[in-house]
């Protein structure tokens, strides 16, 4: 390297730095103009929606059966009926309603006058085709329709589902099936890997412009209830960080956000609101196949030792309430509540009762430590997924509370995949998990209590992770399946609640929230605690209820 070359290098370096600085300044200008135009475009016509996160960009996939489908797919296709997971109520969409002939047979009346977005008419043949498609390709059957259905027949506008047995709750499952057009999908060779770049749909929106950082959905001109759709365009950016959500003026976003009042609401006090209803129960699953967790007195001891309000506050910053022990999600399922259970199933911390129960289970307090007969301190390991920081904060509060009465608690936090594996296979002592929130009381209790899910330790299961087994409960669940009237269902649900309350198959801690953030600047009539017509979730068909209910702000 000669003297001259080196000198040139020095100069080149300086030149590069100057060039970089120039670029930064120039680009700064362009970006600022862009920012100002985008805020102007926030007119009532377009709705900025924080719902779909790119990784970090979007891949074009609008196949409603694909696990990695774009969230916008759910605003384009429609199911037979949309079930509000808050109260379980069904709103007719592609069907106008359903009636049970008997607990084994249900008739759906298919809506007439509906058109696909390419102009072709929607008919019962599309419904039959869709159910046939997911029967032939079980990996598309994400709702498990054919676990309930035996056969399907149709005449005129009526499609009749013949069920495998008395199974009234199956209607909720059939309701939610997305219907796809026969004239498009019948020629698709591999319906699982097909990316459906330009979806033909019945719903309120069709695909607008697609780019890797943002896509838009435009109002479907052929939509059968077009008068109910207020937003002409939905804009879905790929990046929806918490800072974006506070600064960029979203109309609707789904995100957990710290100090919502000081951040999101403070950004536009006049318009920004939030609604965080419970979406599931976060509970401590005791492994019922192992001692001492199979001992009811031991579980009672644990339950009485906990201050659930403190755990809920620590976990979710006071956004959610402590869970009751009925197995129901409150206040969503208030109407199902067993009124003979005190305090709506809430269990208050009671150290005396806790110690008395532990004593019955064989553990006594000695020198501030809870010890067994041999004098060894009780030591518990709780498994929880790594990275779920809110759950961890709740667990830390729980750890402190149990330490106070002399129990040693270790937290085991494997990666989410390893956690799922441990939970499914039953390789845990105590594990944090969630249940409920489907809107169907049958499904909620069935997933929590049905002994058919209680596979031996080492064999993966998909529900009832604590492996609860009780013949009487199984019988109640079977009865619930054939109960057609609400009164009959309530009687059974009352008994199921009593079982959860008395037997403590899972110790409810707090309700996991659904994090809905809304702005009333351009659109009003968002769902709220006083008008809970849909959950604030963005990734399910319940969003159709919101998109057909909001009104343009005057």
């Amino acid at each position: 390297m000669g003297t001259k070359t080196k000198a040139r290098l020095f100069k080149a370096g300086v030149a590069v730095v100057t060039a970089a600085a120039t670029i930064a300044v120039v680009s700064g200008c362009t970006v600022q103009t862009k920012a100002s135009t985008s805020s102007e475009s926030g007119s009532s016509a377009s709705l900025l929606l924080g719902a779909d996160n790119g990784t970090p960009t979007f891949t074009r996939n609008f196949n409603p059966f694909s696990p990695s489908t774009r969230v916008g797919t759910h605003y384009m296709y429609e199911p037979l009926q949309v079930v509000n997971s808050i109260d379980g109520k069904a709103t007719p969409f592609l069907a106008t309603g359903d009636t049970f002939r008997d607990p084994k047979t249900v008739d759906y009346t298919i809506r007439s006058g509906v058109k696909w977005s390419d102009g072709k008419p929607f008919t019962p043949a599309d419904v039959l085709f869709t159910f046939d498609l997911i029967k032939k390709n079980p990996s598309l059957d994400t709702l498990g329709e054919w676990q309930h259905i035996d056969s399907i027949s149709s005449s005129g506008n009526t499609v009749t589902f013949h069920l495998k047995g008395a199974d009234v709750p199956a209607a909720t499952v059939i309701d939610q099936q997305i219907i796809v057009p026969k004239h498009i999908w019948s020629s698709v060779k591999n319906p699982l890997t097909w990316t459906n770049d330009n979806p033909v749909v019945t719903g309120p929106y069709v695909l607008g412009k697609f780019a890797p950082n943002e896509y838009t959905l435009s109002k479907n001109k052929n939509y059968w209830q077009a008068d109910k759709v207020a937003a002409k365009t939905l804009v879905l950016p790929a990046s929806n960080t918490q800072v974006d959500i506070v600064h960029k003026g979203y109309d609707w976003a789904y995100s957990y956000i710290s100090d919502v009042k000081g951040t999101f609401v403070a950004a536009d006090k006049q318009h920004n609101t939030y609604w965080f209803p419970p979406g599931g129960t976060i509970a401590l699953y005791p492994n019922l196949t192992k001692a001492p967790f199979n001992n009811l007195d031991f579980r009672r001891g644990l339950s009485y030792a906990l201050d659930r309000d403190k755990i809920a506050d620590d976990a979710e910053q006071g956004y959610v309430k402590a869970a009751g022990q009925t197995g129901l999600l409150l206040p969503n399922q208030n109407s199902w509540l067993n009124t003979s259970i005190p305090d709506k199933g809430a269990i208050a911390q009671d150290t005396k009762k806790a110690l008395a129960s532990f004593e019955k289970a064989g553990y006594t307090q000695k020198g501030g430590k809870l010890v067994d007969a041999s004098g060894k301190q009780l030591s518990l390991t709780i498994t929880s997924p790594n990275g779920y920081t809110d759950w961890l904060r709740g667990l830390q509060a729980l750890q402190t509370q149990l330490k106070a009465i002399g129990i040693d608690v270790t937290l085991n936090q494997p990666q989410p995949a390893a956690y799922t594996q441990a939970l499914n296979a039953g390789n845990f002592d105590l594990a944090l998990g969630s249940y409920g929130g489907t809107g169907s009381t049958f499904q909620d209790f069935n997933n929590l209590l049905n002994s058919s899910f209680a596979t031996p330790i080492g064999t993966a299961t998909s529900a009832n992770f604590e492996r609860f087994k009780d013949a009487k409960t199984d019988q109640l669940l079977t009865q619930l399946k054939s109960a057609t009237t609400t009164d009959a269902q309530k009687q059974i649900v009352d008994q199921l609640q009593q079982t959860v309350y008395d037997q403590l198959p899972a110790i409810g801690l707090f309700y996991g929230g659904l994090w809905g953030l809304f702005s009333t600047k351009d659109f009003t009539n968002w769902p709220s605690a006083s008008n809970p017509y849909a959950p604030p979730s963005t990734w399910t068909e319940t969003a159709l209820l919101i998109l057909t209910s909001i009104k343009a702000a005057s």
């Binding site: 390297m1 680009s27 960009t57 943002e214 995949a417 390893a418 979730s537």
Partner: protein, 326 residues
């Protein structure tokens, strides 16, 4: 020649070891791809048994014994066919990687080269004028800048220059509604979006080069042959560049080779903070989603390029420092 042959043999053996470890490591992680997908779904709410069954049917689990899988894997590497990604199903791994690689190569590559050139030059200058204000400024400044963690610098820049001042776009590699193309407008957009990530990498990596070069050069300047050159009355600049800097640059060059090889791995933290669609972020998604095919392709690409970079540096060393040839 013997030197070169030895290096080639070493290269082949390390390559085989890397390829094999790359096969084994992901399979030692607990949990299947379906478990990972279900864990992700359950963050939105409880997962029903039917959803679980469908996810398992869609993603499946690797088939066959470990040996059979290994054979299949070697065959795929030879054909450069890495199959379909689990987490970006039904996207091909090769399409994902080739989509992310250019962004990383241009951003991290360019900035790394700039940081190396500017940093080494400043380091040499600081050592030559040691004790002067140039030295104090370069040394103290770079130590200060590199003491900050990467992501912290990134977040500070993002917040103040991106959100508060509004000078730079805050995420992504190009505008919201653009699709990648080679028009002038798009390239301008891409440069604007690269501003903050580039600045972050430059600030945090410049210091290392400056300090490294300065310290070795201060040592070389104290060597007898430098004193001898000075005593011979050579021009000070000749002494600084041809005698001191040429010898002092060797350690920096080694690390440059390593860093350059690592460029294809992307800059994980920076890419994460700025949601930059590069290899680092892709790798992060692959690992957190138990995406074996994608993970293997990326790890393989990274190890191979580090090995190649090492190999080139070894050969280059032989040219720069005649003693290593013996």
């Amino acid at each position: 020649m013997r030197y070169l042959l030895g290096k080639i043999a070493l290269f082949v053996v390390t390559l085989w070891a890397a390829v094999t470890i790359n096969f084994l490591l992901p399979r030692m992680m607990p949990g299947s791809p379906a478990d990972a997908a279900i864990a992700k779904l359950s963050q939105n709410g409880p997962v029903t048994p039917a959803m679980r069954a469908a996810v398992e049917a869609q993603l499946g689990v690797p088939h066959g014994s470990l040996i059979a899988q290994y054979g299949q894997y070697l065959g795929q590497i030879v054909r450069l066919d890495f199959g379909t990604s689990y987490s970006y199903f039904p996207q091909k791994v090769s399409a994902l990687v080739s989509g992310a690689l250019p962004w990383t190569l241009v951003l991290v590559g360019t900035v790394t080269v700039i940081a190396f050139i500017v940093g080494t030059a400043l380091g040499a200058l600081a050592a030559w004028k040691r004790g002067s204000w140039v030295d104090t400024f370069a040394t103290a400044g770079s130590q200060f800048a590199s003491a900050f963690p990467y992501f912290w610098t990134a977040l500070l820049l993002l917040f103040f220059l991106g959100y508060v001042a509004g000078w730079f776009p805050t995420s992504g590699a190009y505008g919201d509604s653009s699709t990648p193309n080679l028009s002038l407008g798009f390239i301008g957009e891409a440069i604007a979006h690269a501003g903050l990530p580039a600045l972050t990498i430059l600030i945090t990596s410049l210091g290392g080069w400056i300090i490294g070069m300065r310290n070795t050069m201060v040592n070389t300047l104290g060597e007898d042959y430098v004193t001898f050159a000075e005593a011979n009355g050579l021009h000070p600049r000749t002494v600084a560049l041809r005698y001191a800097a040429r010898n002092a640059i060797l350690p920096n060059l080694t690390s440059f080779g390593l860093v350059l090889g690592g460029v294809v791995g992307g800059s994980l933290l920076v890419e994460t903070v700025f949601q930059y669609p590069g290899v680092g972020l892709l790798l992060f998604h692959a690992v957190t989603n138990q995406d074996y095919p994608l993970m293997q392709a990326l790890f393989l690409m990274i190890t191979v390029s580090v090995l190649i970079a090492n190999f080139i540096v070894d050969v280059l060393y032989g040219v720069l420092d005649p003693r290593t040839r013996r």
